[in-house]
């Protein structure tokens, strides 16, 4: 009884003393919370959520270990279920186990899994995960970071990309020797779904403009259908300005004047390209988080889905992207306080030149950065009264 009272008091004390100020949402001005249906899928035991952890290849394992460490220091009520899946686990059983785990837990944090494309039998596990879990929306938010060296410092673009069809249908055949056909599938249903998601997002978060990206002048039927679906949905949102742009013009505009974009709505491949460009403009692959959301499940990963093969084991990888993705995950699960706490620390730390990894132009190692973040978090959580024991 006494222990219960003490725990209640501790929790209350912690909540009262660590109230995130508006600025501590870091530079994020929105959160994506789980919908009712998604909440039903999320495994929560004793107040703690259980999240699948897929370490993947390259620098995934090391960075995800750091993420777990930081979660411990911040007191995030998350338990991780590690699932082994990477480019060497080619047996179908591993993929099935991973899928089952995500379906059970509802949420996952994932490193990128390399695709050995020279091996004819190898199927891309990333694509398989996304399509089997029907994670039909990919959201990458690119906003200029304070203190980070980049060409522009006033970018704020949300890229919403259809995540399951289009060029990534993986339907290919060799009709005659030396002639290969690859099918790009566009369906009205999925286009409307992603368009509605984008406009809902814009409406909820005070975004003013949605721009659809396409190549309908050449691919008249396929991208024409996409554009038509977007136009139809835009009629339901009179407050939000809808425009469209051809992908090659969009790439050119993105490098010369990225400030003109607000929310971008794209099919699969063009989304991949523009997300990469936008990520490069705000500071690189190591900084940008991404999330893949479906009706029931959500998987959080780095925005540009790089495995960082060349950086493996060297302790120079940038953990920011994965950390920010994990903060998005905390927001999604409703743990806004902890999410804001970690995010604020991460952004404050990487704004300092001595804590910038080589990809940002600095000299720090990954462990330096992680330690600095932990040191920044510790004072904020001291009110969590372990000392009360």
């Amino acid at each position: 009884m006494a222990a219960l009272t003490r725990r209640l008091l501790c929790n209350t004390a912690w909540r009262q003393t660590v109230v995130p100020s508006l600025s501590s949402f870091g530079n994020r001005n929105y959160t994506i919370n789980a919908t009712e249906q998604q909440v039903l899928s999320c495994a929560k035991y004793g107040g703690r959520h259980c999240v699948t952890l897929m370490t993947g290849d390259g620098v995934g394992p090391e960075i995800l270990t750091h993420v777990q460490e930081i979660f411990r220091y911040a007191g995030a009520p998350i338990d991780f279920e590690t699932v082994e899946i990477n480019s060497s686990t080619t047996d179908a059983a591993y993929l099935e186990a991973a899928l089952l785990s995500v379906q059970r837990n509802g949420v996952a944090l994932k490193g990128n899994i390399e695709t050995k494309f020279d091996d004819a039998e190898f199927r891309s596990m990333n694509v398989a995960l996304r399509s089997r879990l029907d994670l039909w929306s990919n959201i990458v938010w690119c906003r200029s970071f304070k203190g980070v060296n980049a060409r522009y410092d006033d970018i704020d673009i949300v890229l919403i990309r259809e995540n399951t069809e289009g060029e990534y249908s993986s339907l290919e055949h060799e009709s005659v020797t030396g002639v290969v056909e690859s099918l790009k599938i566009i369906t009205a249903e999925k286009c409307e779904r992603i368009a509605r998601y984008a406009f809902d997002f814009a409406a909820r978060n005070g975004r003013k403009k949605v721009t659809a990206i396409h190549k309908a002048n050449i691919m008249k039927l396929a991208d024409g259908l996409f554009l038509e679906s977007c136009r139809k949905v835009s009629e339901d949102y009179a407050d939000i300005k809808f425009s469209d742009m051809i992908i090659d013009n969009a790439s050119m505009q993105m490098v010369s004047r990225p400030q003109q974009f607000d929310v971008l709505l794209m099919p699969n491949l063009y989304g991949n390209i523009l997300s990469s460009i936008a990520a490069g403009l705000v500071g690189g692959a190591g900084l940008v988080p991404g999330m893949n959301v479906g009706a029931k499940y959500a998987v959080f990963e780095s925005g540009t889905r790089n495995s960082g093969r060349s950086l493996k084991g060297k302790n120079i990888a940038n953990p920011t992207g994965m950390l920010l993705a994990s903060c998005d995950m905390l927001d999604y699960l409703g743990h806004h306080n902890v999410g804001a706490l970690i995010r604020e620390s991460v952004l404050d730390v990487i704004a300092q030149p001595q804590h910038q990894t080589p990809d940002m132009g600095g000299q720090a190692t990954t462990t330096d950065v992680i330690q600095a973040i932990i040191d920044d978090i510790k004072p904020k959580t001291q009110t969590r009264l372990h000392s009360a024991e």
């Binding site: 891309s124 002639v179 369906t187 010369s256």
Partner: protein, 385 residues
């Protein structure tokens, strides 16, 4: 007398059918008498029977096309380049089957000259009109689109010291135009990759790299997703690379290239890729150096080449002497290099880039206030000094 000299030169070097000869000659006379904007050096025309004079098909285009084509012709005259221009209009003609086709004149002209310079074309909107650019590409099997992107001193962009070339497969890939509605609300678009086309463009890429002293060729692909199609493209590139061991060959994913391109474009040299990626990446690179108004472009075919400016027709400034001829001029320089007339090309390019670098006489889009003719005159002056 000079007109007679021209006629003599013509009859000795040409195999142009009478109908065209009559069409071209008055044009030549006209141009010779009219070109007062630059003091012209006509000595090259009077060297009768000189085999070094080459004929080039000029497609002035629409909108600002005629002005910038004229600017290019004036600058070529000033440089003394041994080029005779044959103007052709490519406005589509309605055929007996009701569809619009390219006029026969362009086919005849290109069959003879095998070299073309094209201004911007406006595809007429309406039924039966296909994209003219696409039609030209198909008609002359222009399989490789080459776009060198080099930072222009004097025209500042956030990206410095860009010096790369994108070579894009121009005939197949995602732009095959094969699409079907399977059921209502489900569309499939077919991306076609063939071994022949991939090998052809890869071989051109290595040849280009060798001819222009470039050290690295990078294949850009998405073989992790499109295993068979981009896999085939990559296989062809690797095979060609193994036969060209003197040039370094690397391969990267498209998204990695985009990511690195905006952070550090200096790390890329020659990039070779299928159609769609090439379209996007070449426009991205054009954006790095300042846009389509200053970017040259060439389409290489098995049987000739067409060099073009890739900007629009700018109907809002057409006819007002405000246009910037830089893109078409740099494309014409590319053409000269392709025709082994590199020394003329170098002189013209140097004059143009010097003019932009000095920054005194610049057209509106480059940040100045000069007219097109003033800009052209300045370049002519530099060539001749």
């Amino acid at each position: 007398m000079a007109a007679r000299a021209i006629r003599t030169a013509f009859s000795q070097i040409n195999s142009v059918p009478k109908s065209h000869g009559q069409g071209v000659l008055p044009f030549l006379q006209e141009r010779f008498l009219e070109s007062q904007s630059c003091p012209s050096n006509t000595r090259q025309y009077s060297s009768a029977g000189s085999a070094s004079i080459q004929k080039v098909t000029m497609i002035p285009g629409d909108g600002i096309g005629p002005e910038i084509s004229q600017a290019v012709k004036d600058i070529f005259e000033a440089a003394g380049a041994p080029i005779i221009w044959e103007d052709v209009d490519v406005t589509p003609i309605k055929g007996p089957d009701g569809n619009f086709h390219l006029p026969q004149a362009i086919f005849d002209s290109m069959a003879e000259t095998k070299m073309g310079l094209k201004g911007p074309l406006a595809t007429p909107i309406g039924k039966g009109h296909k994209s003219l650019n696409l039609a030209l590409r198909k008609a002359f099997s222009l399989y490789a689109n080459v776009r060198p992107c080099k930072s222009i001193e004097g025209y500042k962009t956030p990206y410095d010291e860009v010096d790369l070339v994108t070579i894009r497969e121009n005939t197949e890939g995602e732009y095959s135009g094969i699409e079907h509605t399977i059921v209502d609300g489900v569309v499939q678009s077919i991306k076609l990759i063939t071994e022949t086309a991939s090998r052809r463009v890869a071989e051109y890429a290595f040849k280009f790299a060798r001819d222009n002293n470039r050290s690295t060729v990078t294949a850009v692909h998405k073989a992790n997703i499109m295993r068979m199609s981009d896999g085939l493209f990559l296989k062809c590139c690797r095979e060609v690379a193994s036969k060209n061991k003197d040039i370094k060959f690397t391969e990267h994913y498209l998204d990695t290239v985009c990511l690195n391109m905006v952070q550090d474009p200096t790390q890329f040299d020659v990039l070779v890729m299928p159609n769609l990626y090439g379209d996007i990446l070449s426009d991205l690179c054009a954006g790095l150096i300042g846009g389509l108004g200053v970017t040259p472009s060439g389409n290489i075919g098995e049987d000739g080449a067409i060099f073009e400016s890739v900007h629009g027709t700018a109907p809002d400034i057409a006819g007002q002497d405000k246009a910037n001829p830089t893109a078409l001029l740099l494309s014409a320089v590319m053409m000269l290099r392709h025709m082994q007339l590199g020394e003329y090309g170098d002189r013209i390019e140097k004059a143009a880039l010097d003019t932009i670098r000095e920054g005194e006489v610049l057209t509106g889009d480059l940040g100045g206030e000069a007219t097109c003719s003033a800009f052209t005159k300045e370049i002519c002056r530099r060539i001749q000094s």
